[in-house]
Amino acid sequence: MDTPTPNQTHPTFLLVLHTAPSLLLNSLLAYLLQRHQGNWKEMVYRQLLQFCRDASHQIRQECDDLLAAAEADPSPQRHQSLLGCGSALVSLLSRQASVLASLEHPNTSAADLLMKRLEDILSISYSKFYCFLFKDLPVYWRQLYTDASILKFHLLLLRATDAAHSDQQTLSLEGIRWAAGEQRGRVWVGKALDLLHDAWTSTQAEAGANAVRPAKRAKLDDKGDDPSSSDDMLFAAASFSLFQPFTPPVEKPIPCRPAMSVESFQTYMDNPPDSTLGPEPLIFTDLVEDWPARTTHPWDKPAYLLSTTFGGHRLVPVEIGRSYVDEGWGQKLITFGTLMRDYIDPSLSPDHTVQNDKSQSGKQIAYLAQHPLLTQLPALRNDILIPDLCYTSPPPHPTDSAKDQPEVDEPKLNAWFGPPGTITPLHNDPYHNLLVQVVGCKYVRLYSPLHTEQMQARGKEDGVEMGNTSSLDVGVLEGWDQPAQDQQLSPDEQASEERLRRAFKDVPYVDCILNPGDTLYIPIGWWHYVRGLSVSFSVSFWWN
C-alpha cells in the first residue's frame, strides 16, 4: 500500500515532501478576524502575540549568542547549529528579529522591508531543500526556514489586526512536519496551532449561537478562501458517496477471518505453510470494530472530518495525478476542505449535478497518500488504535535480508485518503504492513516475493532509486485502464511488450476488495497494487 520511503522515491515526490510544510494556515486568521473580530481579539490574540514575541526574542538571543561564539572562535564545529547556514544569514535573521521587536507600526516601510527580508531568508533556505537528498539535508537549513517562518507569522499577526492589512493579508504558519530546531520547531508550531484551534472552536460556537452564518449560495469557491458557503454543503452531507465507477473482479481471493490474538498471529507468522515464502496475506474482518473512527467519530462523515481541520482550512499535501509513476504526476498543497469538495467527493460540491459522477475524465485525481496526517491532526489520531498485532515479532524478509530495516519503536502510521480511481502502482515495502480500510472500498492485488524477478523492477531514475516499484501497470495489463497515449512503440517493442504481458499473466497472485472495517495483512516484500474503488480512507501500520 505504501509508496517507497522518501529518500527512495521519485524526485518530485521527494521535493514536495521537503517543501510541504504540512501545516499551513493560509487565511485562517484573517478569516477569523473578519468574522469574529471582537471575540477573537479578547480571547486569543494577546496570548498568541505574546507567544510570538517570546519566540522572536529567543531567536534573536540564540542568533546573537552563536555570532558571539563564532567571533571568539572563528573555526568551530558548526554542523549542529544554525551557524551551518553561515554567519551572514544568522546575522540577517537576528537583525530581522530585532527590527520586529522594535517595530512601532506594522504598516510602515520598515515593516515592508522586514517582510521582504524574511521572504529572502525563506527563499534562500527553501532553495537548499532541493540541493540535498532529504536524508542529507542539514538540519540547520530547516531550522532557518522555521525560525524565519515564525518571525513572518509574528509580523503577519501584527498586521492582521491592522485595518490596512486585515482584508488582504493571509497568514501562514509553516513547517510542522519539517520544522526543526530544539527550542521551537515542531513544538512551537503545535502550541500556536492549539491556540488557533481554541479560537476556531469558540468562534464556531459563537457563530452557531448567533446564527450568523450567511445564506447558502450555490457558488463554488475554487480558491477555497471563503469556505463558508460550500462548507454548509459539506456539513449537510451525511456520508461520502459510495459510488464505484469501476469494480475489478476478484480472481484469487485472500482468505478472510475474524481477528486473531497476538499469540495466534505470532504463530501464524512463525509457521508458514511454505517456509521459503514466509507468512502469507490475510484479511481480518473485525479487527477495528472498536475504533472511534468507525463508531463515535465517523470518518465517513465529511462534517466530522471538517470539524477536526478548522472547518477544512488545514492545508495538506496531495498527489495530483492517477499514480506516482505517471507523467504529469505532482504534488501540491490544498486545504482539506478543497480536497474533499473538489477532488474526493464531487457530490459534496454545491454545483454538483448527477452527471458529474460519470464524467470524471477531465478531472484530475488528487490523493492524500503516505501522509503523516495523523501526526498533523491529533484529533484523528485519537480515533484509531494501533492494533495489538503490530506488537509481534514478524520474520525478516523471506528472500533478501538487505531489505530488512532497523527495528522501529512504534509502528509507522500513514493515512491514505482519495477519490475513486487512485492507484498505488505495483511495489513492495521493507516492512510488514496492516492496511486498515476505514471508509470505502479498495482493490488490492499481491504477488509474492518469490516472483520478484518477474516484477520488472524499475532501476535508478533521475538519480532516485525506484527499485521497489514495478514498471508493470496492472490496470493496463488487465485492460481496466488505457495505456499512456504518448507511447510510440516499434513493432519489435510491441512484440516484446506482448511477451511480457503474457508472461506476467501467468505469475500467480492473490487479490481482494477491502470493505470498510477490513484489515489486510501484507507481509514484508510482497508486491502490491492498490486501487481505490470509491471514496476511500485507509490507515496503514508498518512494523517489523
Binding site: G86, R95, D120, S127, Y130, G463
Partner: protein, 304 residues
Amino acid sequence: MELYASGNNAWNQLVFGGVESASNEPTDFASFQLVLRDPVIERPHASLACTCVNTSNGIQTAGFPEDWMQSQSLKDRVLQSLAAIAGNGTIAVYDGQAVRQYQSVSHFQHGTAQRVFTSMRNVSQIVAYETGFAALSTTGQVWTWGDERYEACLCRDVSDVSLAEEPGTVAELEGLPTGKVKKLAAAGYLLMALTEGNDLYAWGGRPGLPGFLDDISASPSPVVIEDHDVADCAIGQSHAVVLTMSGEVYTAGANGNGQLGITTETDSPWSRVPFSPGSDATILSVACGPRNSFMIVQKPSRHT
C-alpha cells in the same frame, strides 16, 4: 573605471568604503548605481552577503565577510575563477594539476579533498551551480559534474561508465558554428557558454522549477536577444545578465531584490536596462551575485 550595481543589499554588499550608520536596515538597489570608482576594477565576485573586487588597491570587499573568505588562497582562486562553491556547499578548486573537490569550507581548510579529478587539463575557468560544477579549458573543452538528480544541468548522457559525479565532457559544445567556448556562467540550475564568435548558449533546469528563459533543456540552445551578438554574460540564483556587442545590457528573470535593474515586479523576459554609461564610456563586462548584478564601466582617460 567604475563599478555599478543593482539588487540585493541586505548585508550592505553594494556599499564599498564603510557604512556610516548601522542603525537602519540597508535597502536593495532598484536600479544600477555607482558603487566603486578606481583606476583598476576587475570582475567582481559576489556571493550571497559579500562582494569582492580586485582594484589598484588590492582586493576590496563590501558586505558581510563570509566563512569561505577566511581562507586567502580560496578567495584568490575564486576571484581568478579557478574555484567555485556550489549551492550545496561543495567546493571545486583547480591547482594547475587537478581539480579537487571539497565537501565544505572546513574540509578545504583541512586539505581533505572528497575527490580529486586529474582528467581536466589547462582549466581556465570553474563555475558552480546549485548542485554541481562546469569547467572550461583553454582549448574550449567543457566538462560538467554534479548531483545526478538534475541531469539537465550536466548537458550529457549519464550512465554507469559516465557518472554524474565525475567530470564528463560536453560533446554538444564542441564544433559550434562560431568557434570554441571562451566563457562559462552558472548559478541556480542554469548554465551558459559563450563562444569566440559571440554566440551564447544556455542549458539546465530543474523539474518543478519554472525557468525564466525560454527553451531551456538538457541540451544547449542559443540565447536569442533580438539580433545581438553577446560580449559577456553572468547568471544569478534566478536571473541572468547579458552585455551585447553593441554595448547594451539586458537582464531577465526574478526581480525580487531589484537585480534586473529595471522596474518590474514579476519575472521578466529579456529587457534592456535603461542605463547609459555616459558619453565616450563603455560597459566592459557584467557580473552577478545570487541576487544582484554588476557592470564594469570604462571611462575615457582624463586629460589634464
